[in-house]
């Protein structure tokens, strides 16, 4: 594990020096702020979305509405930006051959990259959520929130539920990150991998709305982006969350294993 941690540490260092990291994180925190400002200028509410009608009553509704809006393409894009680049950029810079002749084997090297991607994804979602809570509270107040079962919970309980929801939201986010890592390894091209990851996320949604394919819906990655809503029922509905866990694993684990096998066995010809 030591070797993977060495790789992880240096991947973080590289991410800190890359513009795209700040582009992604910047978008993750800028969008909630813009959304909160938009809320103050509008008197109406997006009533067709869960919690949409509460955005003027409590700031806690704002991160929840963002999670729903952001799942379409914003958060997948923010994640893909780094996940799709993290292996392919080594191909682009020709640095794969440089780092593969040092003291860390290919497996741990990729593991470090995967861990760095997860760190970035968790950071982006968390930062987005925290900023959304702060900006939302600033415009609508840190007030009690009504759950999907119609029960009113205190602001403190609501805050806990919002952060727990962010945690559940990370399940499909990390599956997207795994797909990004796989495409980054396969395509050896950053742009192709980023766009490909986003296309994959959009494709799941497309399948989800196609008529006649309703039976597939519970097993689509896009569906798992609303699993967190189980937390906002009384009593808590764990079924969608558990399903999100195993469905997302079905996508993430094969993607990571394939990425690993390809990365370990591939010829490093370029650079």
């Amino acid at each position: 594990m030591g070797a993977a941690l060495v790789s992880y540490r240096w991947e973080l260092r590289k991410l800190r020096s890359l513009r795209r990291t700040y582009l992604g994180l910047g978008a993750a925190v800028a969008v909630p702020v813009i959304f909160a400002i938009a809320v103050t200028t509008q008197s109406s509410s997006p009533n067709d979305v869960a919690f949409g009608s509460y955005i003027h009553q409590t700031g806690l509704a704002i991160p929840l509405v963002l999670l729903l809006f952001g799942s379409a393409w914003m958060y997948p894009l923010i994640i893909a930006l780094v996940a799709g680049d993290i292996v392919a950029s080594e191909d682009h810079n020709g640095t794969l051959k440089t780092i593969l002749t040092r003291g860390v084997d290919r497996g741990p090297l990729l593991a470090g990259k995967a861990m760095a991607t997860v760190t970035y994804a968790v950071g982006a979602i968390l930062a987005s959520g925290v900023v959304a809570v702060i900006a939302g509270s600033a415009v609508s107040g840190l007030n009690p929130i009504t759950t999907l079962s119609g029960q009113r919970v205190s602001a403190i309980t609501g805050l806990g539920l919002v952060f727990a929801s962010l945690g559940v939201y990370l399940i499909p986010i990390l599956a997207i990150a795994s797909i990004g890592l796989l495409l980054s390894t396969l395509t050896r091209n950053s742009t192709a991998a980023v766009v490909g990851t986003l296309m994959a996320a959009l494709l799941f949604q497309l399948i989800g709305i196609l008529p006649g394919l309703g039976a597939l819906k519970p097993y689509l990655l896009s569906t798992q982006f609303s699993a967190w809503q189980g937390l906002l029922r009384t009593p808590i509905d764990w079924a969608p969350i558990l399903r999100a866990l195993w469905v997302c694993s079905l996508y993430a684990v094969p993607a990571l294993i394939t990425a690993g096998i390809v990365f370990v066995r591939r010829d490093v010809d370029g650079g």
Binding site: G2, A3, V6, S7, R9, W10, R13, K14, S17, L18, N93, G94, T95, K97, T98, I99, L100, T101, R102, G103, V104, D105, R265, D267, V268, D269, G271
Partner: protein, 327 residues
């Protein structure tokens, strides 16, 4: 270094390559290369562009998988893991770094990945060796080709290698840069590092290497010292005596010597099996009452030999090579 390491290193040659093959579909980039690089050697891997030098080196460093054959570095197979590269460092093609990080940060990163506890002082040392210390804070993106090349050497030296694999280290450098690179390699070799360096430049290899392998289309057409290549390929001698007509007759009768076609207006051209045959011929000439005015080996330039080996039709080359290897 563990005891195990030291034992491996004492027993095994730095590089042992056996019947190495790399195919890309129909194309055979490396076609049955076998070679051994002994401790302390500066071994030149010489051949024109596209001869399969870089592909061979990539296989030696474990970057690509051979289609057949094997590589052993100090007895270890680089395919089985990064442990085989302990004590080994180098680069293939132009060394590459993260352009958005400073030179020093790049070295720190690689030192970290080496997991050998390489400290800041060692990084300073290698930066001094390649004379990059004053530019170490600048991003690599702004480095010249020569500076990157030197940073590549610095990155290799960080590992304190016993074996250095360098792919065309002087390519793309200006004349002063090439001279500096040659000096650097020479200094490292004098310090006891075994070096394998590939090149398509004959004079570079001639100056630096004790032994060479000349490759063509993925195959080794000559392996040995350049001096030997010069010597064995130049069994032709020029002879000029007080009476060249009689000298020609004496030469024709001398065992081990063949009279060459007389293409000069002055003197006789002979081909000898070896130097003893020439010595015997000179005695025979003197005993026949002839005064030797001139007897010297006709030295083919290395360049001629190199082109002969790498550009002639292949069947000729193979015969030529067999002849030379045999002699």
């Amino acid at each position: 270094m563990s005891v195990d390491d030291r034992q491996l290193r004492a027993v095994h040659a730095p590089i042992e390559v056996r019947d190495l093959v790399k195919r890309y579909g129909e194309i055979v980039a490396v076609d049955g290369v076998s070679l051994t690089v002994e401790r302390g050697e500066v071994f030149g891997y010489l051949g024109p562009n596209g001869a399969g030098k870089t592909t061979s080196l990539r296989m030696m460093l474990g970057l690509i998988r051979p289609s057949a054959g094997s590589v052993r570095l100090f007895g270890r197979d680089p395919l089985l893991g990064i442990g085989a590269l302990r004590g080994v460092a180098g680069f293939v093609e132009a060394p590459r770094f993260y352009p958005y990080l400073p030179g020093r940060a790049n070295l720190e990163l690689l030192a970290g990945l080496d997991r050998m506890g390489i400290g800041k002082t060692r990084i300073d040392e290698v930066l001094d060796v390649v004379e990059l210390r004053d530019r170490a804070k600048d991003k690599v993106g702004g480095y010249s080709h020569g500076m990157r090349q030197r940073l590549g050497i610095a990155a290799a030296l960080l590992r304190d290698p016993q074996l250095l694999l360098l792919d065309e280290p002087a390519t793309g450098l200006d004349p002063a840069g090439m001279r500096d690179m040659r000096r650097l390699v020479r200094r490292l070799a004098d310090g006891g590092i075994t070096v394998m360096l590939s090149s398509h430049l004959l004079n570079e290899v001639d100056e630096l290497c004790n032994r060479v392998a000349i490759v063509r289309n993925g195959r080794i057409v000559y392996e040995g010292t350049l001096a030997n290549l010069k010597r064995t390929a130049s069994g032709t001698w020029r002879l000029h005596t007080s009476d060249d007509e009689r000298a020609a007759a004496v030469s024709a009768a001398q065992p081990g010597v063949v009279l060459g076609a007389d293409d000069h207006d002055l003197g006789v051209s002979v081909t000898a099996e070896n130097e003893q045959a020439i010595a015997a011929l000179s005695v025979a000439l003197v005993e026949s009452g002839l005064g030797i005015i001139e007897l010297h080996q006709h030295v083919a330039s290395l360049e001629d030999l190199f082109f002969a080996l790498t550009e002639q039709p292949e069947t000729d080359v193979r015969q030529h090579a067999r002849l030379m290897v045999a002699s």
